[in-house]
Symmetry: C2
């Protein structure tokens, strides 16, 4: 497959949300223009994004909401359930673990780990917090596809490396520490302070 820009993938994921919304409202078709308004982009952009994967629309008509939804789900690999472990059961980790929205979208939390003995043994939405010491053993057993890293920054590189050695190929990292991982491990970052600083820049240089 031709290489697709990350920005395109991100927009597809957004389109998917609006499509689901639209479908719920009972609309059978949607035009690139309508999708564009929801996603804050242009109709040409929407058509271009979709064109990388095929032609799903009907000229003069737009796209079948149902079909486009299913196509995008297929493109993004959302036709299956992904198994997820969360490492770090602090404020962020447990907020995530307790978030039902994941399972609904096909991401199942199969394990939670923490280094703090006070937390080990507690249960979040049916999953018992395990000691991070047994990470490797448990990960081998649980076979997660992805890991969410919500540990203190100083622990992040080590935990990430350990996850990689037992075969985890995708990590969502809430720290900012530089992780050096094999090239076949995909890492995405979420960092609140970073986003706030971008807002700070915008306010300062408006």
């Amino acid at each position: 497959m031709k290489k697709i820009a990350e920005s395109t993938v991100r927009r597809l994921s957004l389109y998917l949300r609006y499509l689901e919304e639209f479908e719920k409202l009972g609309h059978d078709t949607i035009s690139s223009g309508q999708l564009a308004t929801s996603g804050g982009t242009t109709s040409a952009q929407v058509r271009k994004d979709l064109s990388f994967f095929g032609s799903f629309g009907k000229r003069g008509m737009g796209y079948s909401t149902r079909e486009l939804t299913s196509r995008i789900r297929g493109i993004l690999g959302l036709e299956r359930t992904w198994r997820l472990v969360i490492v770090g059961a602090g404020k962020i980790g447990s907020a995530l673990a307790g978030h039902r929205g994941f399972r609904d979208r096909g991401f199942e939390v199969v394990g939670i780990f923490d280094a703090d003995p006070h937390r080990v043994g507690h249960t979040l939405l049916g999953v018992t917090i395990a000691d991070v010491k047994s990470l490797e053993r448990d990960v081998k057993r649980l076979r997660p596809d992805m890991a969410v890293l919500a540990v203190p920054p100083e622990a992040a590189p080590d935990v990430a490396a350990r996850l990689a050695t037992v075969g985890v190929k995708a990590i969502l990292d809430f720290s900012t520490a530089p992780l050096h991982l094999p090239a076949d491990v995909t890492v995405r970052r979420m960092n609140l302070a970073l986003e706030l600083e971008i807002l700070s820049y915008a306010l300062t240089n408006r």
Copy 2:
């Protein structure tokens, strides 16, 4: 000032973290190459990013960590404290509100709001949760610079609009709902499900 790409601003914010790290380790200078390795980019990119704002380095030497740190803080507008309100004291909102890291980085939580009467009146790190009904009145009094939106998606557009009418010009939004706001309001989005879907795409099309 010339328009600077968002990607540049994001990288500056990352550089800042590594610089702080570096400074702590007692290094007086840092080269573009060293910053690049930490930030996952190239030395040319680092130099180009910095060159938009001036020339801070010494040829043959690199950059003074102390000076560069302070320059970037200046560029990003981090020489002051920013006042922040959090709307939505659910799992995510309260995890954020309880996160001491903000204050340390110059973002002070001055107000928290929720629609649930069971939550109103409780206190998080010294800030009492107020009823979202009094949002306008309280925001006028608290004069926040930014708002973090952690409400259910269906409530997001309304709350965002209300924040905008009382003068909030920067919003960090955890929902995916399309907000339509005046052009002078900067919005940044954080969406976990979206990031997980990008990982799903990466795993599916590796």
